[in-house]
């Protein structure tokens, strides 16, 4: 049995059904995807292509992403890294933009086509356990109550009530979780492709760091869909609470930023949404297996979020798949204890999922730090302005004095800056 028909749960159900197991996939929403919010860019599409070859031919894809912009902002300025390549424009591709209510529904349908049974409008309230603590099924909020199963895969997303209920995930706090508020703005297809310099059917993603979220730790994004833009602000809950700012006000502020305003001009609001993101990485990984139970996707904290990257869908699919395979293996061997389910963690290790989280374990805290959020973006755009501003008859500055002047102006002690460079290097560089 699989609880939650997001990407993790549907991937798990698909694999189990293909292995010939009878699978029940529980979803609390009206349909899979109706509760779910992402940017949404699907990176690492090979993860899904290994399950559904050339899925982009049938899945509800919005655009093939061929350009990626990372933009550092201060109040009035911005400095971008704009990467585009033809290599991302053909199979196996690098990323796609999607809308979750459509994409998730399609993915769940693939599990159903493989033989899984999807039960919509069904809330799993808790995991049932026997006297030894072994999970033996799920209690659903329906008249007929308890459903027994030899293995339960908890793929119920970031709130993770099922895993927390049996002690596989700890209580999470405002430093572990961020909240994202998002809008989809309709923009004419032709206008959109012209505005963003896109070939037909291709798309771009923008990631913004710095002043767009004010004093609140976080970042923002703007992704292109077929005939709309998805944009939003993702902020750490602890920081939001500390600064007593309302998330939708940050969203308005983001759209009004001089770099963003011309990109969203003329867009009309289609839908507003909000959802949490597990952002603490390695620090919030759940215990992945217990007797009769596996935890996958956001529920396990397996969302790769480091400021530069926000990749949860692909990690959810990878972990759901591994959980499905491990469950099928354990069922075939007749041992669904935690030891019998150890194939899950082994697969996540071998396929590089857990190593990614270990390698970037220092990134989430580094990127959420105050200097990274506020001061360094100002230094970077300040240096750019000194170097790029035309000077008329006045003397031009070289790069190093421009940097020292800006650093001095920011008030960050040089030793602090060097240490941050070193820590940033350790977080992202080596």
């Amino acid at each position: 049995m699989v609880a939650g028909a997001g990407p993790a749960g549907s991937a798990a159900a698909l694999v189990l059904a293909r292995a010939g197991r009878s699978v029940l996939l529980l979803e609390r929403g009206e349909f899979p995807g109706s509760k779910n919010v992402s940017g949404a860019a699907i990176y690492g599409p090979d993860v899904l292509a290994e399950l559904i070859p050339a899925f982009w031919e049938t899945a509800p894809i919005e655009r093939v992403l061929t350009r990626r912009v990372i933009c550092v902002t201060s109040e009035e300025s911005s400095l971008s890294l704009d990467f585009a390549t033809r290599r991302f424009a053909s199979p196996p591709y690098n990323a796609f933009s999607v809308l979750r209510p459509r994409f998730d529904r399609w993915l769940a349908d693939q599990a159903v086509a493989a033989g899984a049974t999807l039960l919509n409008e069904t809330v799993a309230d808790e995991l049932l356990r026997d006297a030894t603590g072994r999970v033996r099924g799920v209690r659903v909020r329906r008249p007929d109550g308890d459903i027994e199963a030899p293995v339960v895969i908890a793929a119920d997303g970031v709130n993770s009530f099922l895993a927390r209920g049996v002690g596989l995930q700890r209580e999470l706090g405002g430093h572990d979780l961020s909240v994202g508020v998002k809008e989809v703005l309709a923009v004419d297809r032709g206008v959109l492709e012209e505005r963003f310099h896109l070939e037909a059917g291709e798309g771009v993603t923008y990631e913004f760091l710095g002043s767009v979220t004010g004093d609140v730790a976080g970042g923002s994004f703007l992704y292109t869909n077929r005939e709309s833009l998805s944009l939003g602000v993702i902020v750490e809950i602890a920081s939001l609470a500390e600064h007593r700012v309302r998330p939708y006000e940050l969203l308005e502020r983001f759209k009004a930023h001089p770099t963003v305003a011309p990109l969203v001009r003329g867009g009309s609001l289609v839908e507003y949404s909000a959802h949490m993101v597990p952002e603490a990485g390695q620090a919030m990984l759940a215990t992945l297996a217990g007797d009769g139970v596996l935890v996958a996707g956001d529920a396990a904290g397996l969302c790769f979020a480091t400021g530069l990257y926000l990749e949860g869908i692909n990690y959810a699919i990878a972990s759901g798949r591994a959980a499905g395979e491990a469950a099928a293996e354990a069922l075939a061997a007749g041992d669904t204890s935690a030891a019998g389910l150890a194939g899950y963690e082994r697969r996540l290790e071998e396929r590089g999922v857990l190593p990614d989280f270990r390698r970037f374990r220092m990134a989430p805290r580094f990127i959420m730090g105050e200097r990274m959020q506020r001061l360094y973006p100002e230094i970077v755009t300040g240096v750019a302005e000194r170097v790029l501003r035309s000077q008329g008859g006045r003397p031009k500055q070289k790069l190093l004095p421009a940097v020292t002047d800006e650093v001095r102006r920011s008030g960050v002690p040089i030793r602090r800056l060097l240490r941050d460079l070193w820590e940033g290097g350790r977080a992202f560089g080596w």
Partner: protein, 94 residues
Amino acid sequence: MVSTTLAEKMTTVRFRPDHEPHIVVDGDICRDCTLHTCVYVCPANLFSLLSDGSILFNHEECFECGTCYVACNREGAIHWRYPGGGRGVSFRDS
């Protein structure tokens, strides 16, 4: 319009409210809360601070995100669970 008020934003979202509230705020615990964090963090602005210091909450336009119970620093103030199957928020275009 690119710039919208929260009320305008909320009209774009589809809700099928549950018959009973899935979130219950315990007025006794909130009474001596000084931070009222819930009032600021909720993306749907569902918590209001009344002049007598108590909290007014309405569950009907809730995103079920969880931000309020994560941000609230008082044990037991917010009783939170998902609404019944098929109830609550139902996104179409996000």
